[in-house]
């Protein structure tokens, strides 16, 4: 049970440094009063007292890894905008919808001013001209809290013309989506923000930092990423990098769901905390629910290849999880115990990605639904070996070559490292195949057990039922 009834899911009572969830303990953490009383807008004042490039350097030296999934450092991303091209926009990606992920919504509901302050710091440092804060359509409360916070902040002079009496002026526009997972992909997010169907644009050669919103340089940052900035500017990069490891400094929020004793949202030390710490640690999930044992877990959201218990000791460090065959993604850990019907659960993910395909790339549009149809048949006990083979073939059409998976002594598998090759523009298509590949590679027997047996075919002699 959460200690904080007003923040469902937030169970983090551990005594660790809290960079972004520090105000979750307050029921009124979303108000301007509480925010100001707890160090709010200090980071912005600190930033405005320095030159934009100094602020940019500070963020760069802290190596704030993007928390949306790809893990690209924010400071570096800001620097990718082409020289001399103005205006530049900031688009805040609050379209959290990766299966298993629950963090950005909490940040927006519980501490919207922290996000706003982060947007302002980023805009100041990178010379951005307008901010669009894109919140997932289905998050009514987050939209209300952010809207109220924006209104408060405008009234108090923290946003708008001449912020805090300086020549720094910027608008933050609240924008909201209408239900489409793929819009979480940054180029699709921009399409959606332009009023179009949220279909990803091909990225190379055009990254949003070069050609983004309205064809202008655009920084797309995740909610959690930006929420780090107020603390960073208040306490300095040195304090930030003192937490976590050299390559993964600071903290990160994870959400652990599924068959654990205490599922919840935790702010963990980046880089050093292991999956075992999180799943079994006393201050975290306290182990698998009583009387059961771990069967498999997904380390980084529904798109990530699955891990077996062998991988529990891997830390939250991209440079180690990638070579081990998966990714940290959006910090979502989904835990399955031995009661789990693997094919049936894999089907929920396949269905998710097939449903969320935008329809642009043929392999995803056609292949995703085809995989879903076959999985439905297999789960219903009407599949054949041919179906299983065919799923691997469809996988080859979506992600040619070896698909990432973890090493497993029991299965005699050598790790195939993440990432994979793909024939699609974005990760939705490969993700649909991901659940098939992981479940079928790691648990072939469970699929075999579901296949149609000759004896299970009802035989009715012609005319016998008339």
């Amino acid at each position: 049970m959460s200690r904080y009834a007003w923040a469902p899911g937030y169970t983090d009572d551990g005594d660790r440094p809290k960079i972004v969830t520090s105000r979750f303990q307050y029921e009124d953490g979303y108000t301007l009063d509480r925010y100001l009383a707890t160090g709010g807008y200090v980071g912005l004042r600190a930033a405005l007292g320095r030159t934009p490039s100094e602020v940019h350097d500070e963020v760069k030296s802290a190596t704030v890894l993007g928390r949306g999934g790809a893990g690209f450092p924010a400071g570096t991303k800001w620097g990718l905008t082409p020289q001399g091209v103005w205006p530049r926009y900031l688009v805040v990606n609050g379209d959290e919808s990766e299966p298993g992920t629950y963090k950005d919504r909490l940040l927006m509901e519980r501490d919207p001013h922290q996000l706003i302050e982060g947007c302002l710091i980023a805009s100041y440092a990178a010379g951005l001209s307008q901010v669009f804060l894109y919140i997932r359509g289905e998050m009514a409360l987050a939209q209300e809290r952010v809207a109220a916070a924006l209104n408060e902040a405008y009234a108090a002079g923290y946003i708008g013309k001449n912020i805090l009496g300086t020549n720094f002026s910027i608008d933050i526009v609240l924008h909201w989506g209408a239900g489409a997972y793929v819009v979480g992909e940054e180029t699709a997010l921009i399409e959606s923000l332009e009023g179009n169907r949220g279909m990803p644009r091909l990225k190379p050669p055009f990254f949003p930092a070069a050609i983004g919103l309205y064809g202008k340089p655009t920084i797309v940052n995740n909610v959690e990423t930006l929420s780090n900035l107020p603390w960073l500017l208040t306490n300095g990069a040195a304090a930030y990098t003192a937490i976590g490891t050299e390559t993964s400094p600071g903290t990160r929020i994870i959400a652990v769901s599924g068959h654990v004793k205490r599922p919840g949202v935790y702010e963990i030390i980046n880089g050093s905390t292991t999956f075992r710490d999180v799943i079994y640690g006393e201050e975290f999930c306290q182990g698998i629910r009583d009387g059961h044992e771990l069967k498999a877990f997904i380390p980084g959201g529904g798109s990530a290849p699955w891990f077996l218990p062998d991988q529990l000791d891997l830390p939250f460090e991209a440079k180690m999880v990638g070579p081990a065959g998966s990714m940290l993604g959006s910090g979502a850990i989904m835990v399955m115990d031995e009661t789990t019907d693997i094919p049936a659960m894999a089907l929920t993910l396949v269905r998710f990605y097939a449903h969320e395909s935008c329809g642009k790339c043929v392999p995803c549009r056609e292949g995703g639904t085809w995989l879903m149809r076959i999985m439905e048949r297999v789960v219903a006990g009407r599949g054949t070996q041919r179906d299983l083979d065919q799923m691997l073939e469809i996988g080859q059409s979506i992600t040619p070559g070896q698909y990432p998976h973890a090493a497993s002594e029991r299965l005699g598998l050598a790790a195939a490292p993440f990432p994979f090759r793909m024939t699609t523009i974005c990760f939705v298509g490969p993700s649909a195949y991901n659940a098939v590949d992981s479940s079928l590679t790691l648990f072939p027997d469970e699929f075999q057990a579901k296949l149609m047996k000759r004896t299970s075919i009802p035989v009715t002699a012609v005319g016998a039922d008339s």
């Binding site: 169970t11 919504r105 409360l141 209104n151 300086t166 209408a178 949220g198």
Partner: protein, 203 residues
């Protein structure tokens, strides 16, 4: 008459006024019309197209891409039961079947009294609180079948009217940028110089 009413036209114009290009207001305006009418009508799309400078076909193309927009009347309460992995692990399928039994409709259907539309939804970002559901995009966490029964009864009896607005209303708080504080939209082609604080430093 399902065009935006006068009050909503004022809101629509305020929304459009925040964007460098009116077209960006398409989704917010579709929400606004759905809030007014409960669903998105052809008439409303024609009007939105005029307001944002698109063709009706373009607005339709955008609208149909997104899950939340409905093109025919749905129940006063849209009950979305999540069916993705985290919730499925915690028994969401049972919850959905229970709801189907209780409401007497299959997922996707609307009750005869027009009160409830039941949907199997995809991940709602409340995975630690599985199984979860949303009623008109208001969450309910770790829902048991008994709690589901109670929730549906409470909704039907109007006991949750203050908490759960009718379908179409998402956020009840809107952003309002005061005129004296607004910087105004920054059009992509108008600006060739960096912002003042970059060239002059913060003053």
């Amino acid at each position: 008459m399902t065009r935006l009413n006068e009050a909503n036209v004022i809101i629509a114009k305020e929304i459009i006024g925040r964007y460098p290009k009116a077209r960006s207001a398409t989704i917010p305006l579709l929400h606004l019309s759905q809030q007014q009418n409960g669903y998105v009508t052809n008439e409303a799309m024609v009007q939105i197209a005029e307001m944002v400078g698109a063709t009706s076909a373009e607005v339709l193309g955008t609208a149909t891409f997104y899950e939340m927009f409905k093109f025919e009347p749905v129940g006063k309460y849209l009950v979305n039961i999540c069916g993705t992995l985290s919730c499925a692990l915690m028994g969401s399928e049972t919850l959905l079947h229970h709801a189907e039994g209780k409401l007497g409709v299959k997922a996707g259907g609307t009750t005869e009294d027009g009160l409830f539309t039941l949907e199997r939804a995809e991940c709602q970002a409340a995975c630690t609180e599985a199984p979860c559901l949303q009623v008109n995009y208001r969450y309910r966490y770790k829902v048991t079948t008994a709690e589901l029964d109670q929730l549906l009864d409470d909704l039907a009896a109007g006991r949750l009217d203050g908490e759960v607005p009718p379908h179409g209303t998402v956020a009840r708080v809107r952003q309002h940028i005061p005129a004296d504080k607004a910087v105004g939209p920054v059009p992509p082609d108008a600006v060739v110089a960096p912002p003042a604080w970059i060239t002059e430093g913060a003053k």
